[in-house]
Symmetry: C2
Subunit: 108 residues, 2 copies
């Protein structure tokens, strides 16, 4: 890693990994790809996530401008993907494709 360029690239990869990695964040983003959702809707959707983890991850994604939290004055909190969040979709698509190839290689 003396190579500066490689180092910077690795930093970028780490950033992305931080975002879509972890037990739940990828799943949260995937769930919000569908449509905007409320807190309990997400909680049901992800089945075994705890509220503590969900709120922590939502705050993280909000800080990273991937998800927006809107407290619609009518007292319903709605979480949705931002434009930036949506820009992750094609990348996740690429990852899925490689992951499928990988699965075949490992199992076959």
């Amino acid at each position: 890693m003396k190579n500066k360029l490689k180092q910077m690239q690795n930093r970028d990869v780490q950033d992305v990994i931080d975002i879509i990695g972890g037990r739940w964040r990828g799943a949260i983003l995937a769930s919000l790809c569908d449509k905007e959702k409320r807190f309990n809707e997400l909680k049901r959707d992800l089945e075994s996530i705890t509220p503590k983890t969900l709120i922590k991850d939502l705050k993280f994604l909000e800080m990273n401008k991937l998800v927006s939290r809107e407290d619609e004055t009518e007292s319903a909190v709605v979480y949705s993907l931002t434009k930036h969040g949506k820009s992750l979709e094609p990348l996740i698509g690429q990852i899925v494709i490689w992951g499928q190839k990988h699965r075949k290689i490992i199992l076959g």
Copy 2:
């Protein structure tokens, strides 16, 4: 996550995350993109990695057929990327590109 397709996709994403995620595995792969390397060469390259972590990650990458370990009869162990491992390069490239855009959005 009632949607089966989304569930499977999420599983694939998780697989990929497992591979390039974590503190070191991405960096190890990046370092091996350059050229094949020996254990201590990698250890020096990654500077602060401990041998325990390095050997654990190398074994993991080997099991996943991304890295091959060749004990060249002349007693030098050489680690290199497999064809499958090399196929990760373009994907990592895509990730780097998104990561750079992301950095600009977060900082700007």
